[in-house]
């Protein structure tokens, strides 16, 4: 058996056939009547209208045959359609092409076949009108003509059907229009254009009898390559994974970047791609496993204006796609283009609106001034903040350079030059500069200016943000002024001031007054260590001060010496406190006063007192001596009156002598010239001595002096004569202030560390107002000229100095009207009393 060859126009032929929409349609009387007529006319058992498609022949109308189709390989008609002429086989059993054909060897036992090709207007053979007999036969030329005529009639009917097809086309066109307008309406009404695209896709699939498809927007990635983002896509998910992917991505749009595909070819070429045999199409990209079969595909790039904006992809239209369909869809494509462009504009608009809203809020809420200028620096726009700051409205400043209006006398020309130079290079800048308000008042602004560029990086102008920093500047200036003042004070101070690091002791700062007496230059001094200027013997005192600094944050007043560069020393008085700088670094401020001059004056003063006292004593020696001799009767007896007068003179000369002695004692104590011969000795005998020495003085005032028995074991480390001096002072005071017949109690009571020696009297006690200054020099409770009690006013001051030089302290307790108790506390001597 010989297989029927494939016609040279097979694909066009098939498309023509499919377009007729006759295949697999219902039987129709208009064809059946023609086949009945053919059977009758030619006296054959079988007459057929056969259509030959890819695989088979299908009978649109059949007489005398039950089967509605047979395979194309066994088909006689597939041979018949190869030419334009009638195809006649007189005896198939004798014909080598058909002798072994099952339709010949088996039912329906074909021997005779004659088929007139059905040829379309375009010249494609789509099938035949054929007659078949089980006996061999041959048509006469009239019969052949008759069969041809009948076939032409069939063709007419087919074309009739095609005409109806045309009316269906009109219906399709109406459907198309409806789809378009419905999409447009929906697009306008819907908040999201996505639903409009979904509906549109459904309509397009219906219209084109496609199985699935998509409407996508053409976007461009950063490198300029186009890619597709779907606005609508048929759900062709074939498993859980793709279903999940579809559900996740379809609502926002799926993106397709691979261009080595059929739709990619359409995108790149910007021309429709029709692939009715996708499996053999070199442009295909391959489908993932499980993807529904792709039997036919059309990808249509859609332009809006000159721009490629969208793409429509359709698949699996029976019979494939062609140019006619594209032409038919043209209005819809235009609409899709418009809708995509509109959606894009809408999206852009929405983004712009959002940005604008955000920017407006920023701009309106900003207190800062904002200026936008063109490339030449001329104002295009200013915000309210700028008007507030400068006083100028947009109308007044538009088109002008801000600097021309705002800069003035106090504006730093260097800063202006810097701004201009930056603008000249198309660069931004940040400066602090003085501007002038429209009303003429100057203010400080910080200008942060940056170039504005378009998407291609071309300079469009500049934007400057101006912040009012007048307050900051004022504060800075005030701070600077204050610092300058303080610095001046620091440098001018006649007293040395130093700032040292607490941890390292190194100098952070020091003033000239500190340097001056040292003989060092500043750089020399700061490189010295602490002990280069402080004599070693001050170490214990230094440690004590350091302890105070750690505990209380302060030290001093503290006297010590500094060593000059030449090795000589001078006395200084130090005070200091801990401070922290703004970084939290711990520092010590020290005031270091050179007290050389003060010391010199003190020395002069005490020398003066010493000299004066000596000079006074010389004449006093003569006066007292002379008076003593006279009173002693060395010059004979005296009249009573004269004796009385001389008595007064003698007493006062003695008192003057005591005063001078006290002054000299005080001077010696203060100058540290008094020597103390400390010796551990029993207290008891010292107290007994004191009672003996002062008994007569007490007797003189008619006062009883008693010693309470004391623990014999108590030992003290004292200079005996100095302690006697103190006790004499306390006892004589007690005697002076005791009422006649009163009693003075001398006692000692011991603790673990100290022994307290008390002198208690029954006098008037110590007035409140006097208590603070009772131990001061020349202080007496009654400072009036009519002093009742004799005394120099130095006794207690000297006593305190003496006691303190013996490591003790002196004090008193008194209730006015109930007497006073003065006491001296001395440390107990540790040495054995047997020693």
């Amino acid at each position: 058996m010989q297989l029927p060859p494939i016609p040279h126009d097979e694909s066009q032929r098939l498309r023509a056939l499919h377009e007729l929409n006759l295949l697999d349609s219902e039987a129709e009387e208009r064809f059946d009547r023609l086949t009945r007529l053919a059977r009758q006319t030619f006296g054959v058992p079988i007459a057929l209208v056969s259509l030959v498609d890819e695989q088979r022949q299908w009978f649109k109308s059949r007489q005398g045959l039950d089967a509605c189709e047979t395979g194309r390989d066994v088909s006689f008609c597939a041979h018949a359609i190869l030419g334009d002429d009638l195809f006649e086989v007189c005896d198939a059993s004798q014909d080598p092409r058909f002798a072994d054909n099952p339709l010949v060897t088996g039912g329906p036992q074909i021997r005779f076949y004659a088929g007139a090709p059905l040829i379309t207007a375009e010249g494609h053979g789509i099938g035949t009108l054929c007659i078949i007999d089980t006996r061999p036969h041959q048509l006469s030329s009239d019969e052949r003509r008759a069969l041809r005529d009948l076939a032409d009639l069939v063709m007419l009917e087919i074309e009739q059907a095609d005409y109806r097809q045309e009316t269906r086309g009109l219906r399709s066109a109406r459907q198309l229009t409806e789809a378009i307008s419905s999409a447009q309406v929906q697009f306008i009404r819907e908040a999201s254009p996505r639903l409009a695209f979904d509906d549109l896709l459904t309509d397009v699939l219906d219209l084109t009898v496609s199985e699935y498809g998509f409407i996508g927007e053409v976007l461009r990635s950063r490198d300029g390559a186009p890619y597709l983002k779907t606005h609508a896509i048929t759900n062709i998910a074939w498993n859980a994974e793709t279903r999940a992917f579809y559900e996740a991505n379809a609502p926002t749009g799926m993106e397709f970047h691979n261009l080595d595909t059929l739709f990619g070819a359409a995108l790149r070429g910007e021309k429709p791609v029709i692939a009715n045999d996708p499996y053999h199409d070199p442009r295909r990209g391959g489908l993932p496993e499980g993807h529904p079969a792709l039997n036919a595909f059309v990808g249509i790039p859609i332009h809006h204006g000159d721009e490629l904006v969208a793409m429509l992809g359709l698949a699996n239209r029976p019979g494939g796609y062609d140019e006619n369909l594209l032409a038919f869809l043209q209005p819809l494509l235009v609409t899709i283009g418009q809708l995509v462009a509109a959606a894009r504009a809408q999206q852009q608009h929405r983004e712009d609106q959002r940005l604008l809203r955000r920017l407006s809020r920023v701009a309106s809420e900003a207190t800062n001034g904002v200026v936008i200028t063109d490339v030449d620096g001329r104002v295009e726009w200013i915000n309210e903040g700028f008007t507030r700051l400068s006083g100028y409205t947009l109308k007044e400043i538009a088109g002008r350079r801000p600097g021309d209006l705002l800069q003035g006398a106090e504006t730093d020309p260097e800063t202006v030059a810097r701004m201009h130079s930056a603008l000249g290079r198309d660069e931004g800048f940040e400066v602090d500069v003085v501007n002038y308000h429209r009303a003429g008042t100057p203010y400080w602004v910080r200008i942060q200016c940056s170039p504005l560029e378009d998407e291609q990086g071309r300079l469009q102008g500049f934007m400057a943000i101006e912040s009012d920093i007048s307050e900051t500047k004022r504060a800075t200036h005030a701070l600077q002024a204050s610092e300058t003042r303080l610095r001046g004070l620091f440098e001018l101070s006649p007293i040395g001031i130093a700032l040292n690091d607490y941890e390292t002791g190194e100098f952070v700062d020091l003033n000239q007054a500190l340097l001056q007496p040292t003989g060092y230059r500043r750089e020399e001094f700061v490189s010295l260590s602490y002990w280069d200027v402080t004599p070693k013997e001050y170490e214990p005192q230094e440690m004590q001060q350091l302890e105070s600094l750690e505990k209380t944050g302060r030290y001093g007043p503290f006297e010590k010496e500094y060593i000059r560069k030449d090795g000589s020393r001078y006395p200084v008085l130090l005070n200091g406190m801990v401070v922290f700088d703004n970084t939290g670094r711990k520092l010590i401020w020290s005031i270091i006063e050179d007290i050389s001059e003060r010391k010199r004056i003190e020395r002069m003063k005490s020398e003066f007192i010493s000299t004066v006292s000596h000079e006074l004593r010389t004449p006093l020696t003569s006066i007292s001596g002379s008076l003593g001799l006279v009173m002693g009767g060395a010059a004979g007896s005296l009249p009573d009156k004269a004796r009385e007068m001389l008595e007064i003179a003698h007493n006062n000369s003695r008192r003057l002598g005591l005063l001078i002695n006290d002054l000299l004692d005080m001077e010696k104590l203060v100058a540290g010239k008094m020597h103390f011969a400390l010796e551990v000795q029993p207290l008891q005998s010292l107290l007994e001595q004191a009672v003996r020495d002062n008994q007569s003085y007490a007797d003189h005032f008619g006062v009883d002096l008693e010693l309470e028995p004391t623990d014999n074991e108590v030992q003290v480390n004292v200079d005996a004569s100095r302690l006697q001096q103190v006790l004499a002072n306390l006892l004589s005071n007690a005697a002076k202030f005791s009422p006649e017949g009163g009693k003075i109690m001398l006692s000692a009571s011991g603790g673990k560390e100290v022994v307290r020696i008390s002198v208690a009297d029954q006098g008037p006690g110590i007035p409140e107002e006097f208590r603070d200054r009772i131990f001061q020099k020349f202080s007496q409770a009654d400072a009036s000229d009519t002093r009742q009690k004799p005394g120099t006013g130095l006794g207690l001051a000297i006593s305190r100095e003496l006691v303190e030089h013996m490591a003790g302290n002196i004090g008193f307790e008194s209730v006015p009207g109930e007497g006073a108790t003065f006491y001296v506390e001395l440390p107990l001597a540790r040495e054995s009393h047997q020693g």
Binding site: H614, R617, T618, P619, L620, T621, S622, S624, G625, S626, G628, L629, M631, G632, A634, A635, G657, L664, K668, M674, H675, A677, S721
Partner: protein, 122 residues
């Protein structure tokens, strides 16, 4: 030790000299030679041959210690006891004067009525 009868007294202050002279001669009954300066005392001392020399410490020209030093150079006077009369009576000062060879230090101002007693006790 023989009793003191002849005293050489050196004091630059004339009034004090007068008081002391009265106290020692009239009250004490001593034979007194008064000198107004160390130099004068050195000139007169050997001839006077004193049993005791009383020296003021602070004097213009030769002061007490230098006068004492000079007298120790004169053999006849080398063994004559010397007492200083001074206002400087702190223990260290007294020690210093004694180290110079003084037998005693009499404090100024002195009590004229008891001065003779003090001198006699030396």
């Amino acid at each position: 030790m023989s009793t003191v009868e002849r005293i050489l007294y050196v004091e630059d202050e004339e009034d004090i000299r007068a008081v002391a002279q009265l106290a020692l001669e009239s009250v004490g009954g001593f034979t007194l030679k008064s000198c107004a300066s160390g130099e004068e005392a050195l000139r007169e001392a050997e001839a006077f041959a004193p049993d005791l020399i009383l020296l003021d410490v602070m004097m213009p020209g030769m002061d007490g210690p230098s006068t004492l030093h000079a007298m120790r150079e004169i053999p006849a006077l080398a063994d004559v006891p010397v007492a200083f009369m001074t206002a400087k009576v702190q223990p260290t000062e007294i020690e210093y004067f004694k180290s110079l060879g003084a037998r005693e230090v009499i404090a100024k101002p002195f009590d004229p009525m008891t001065l003779a007693e003090q001198v006699r006790s030396i």
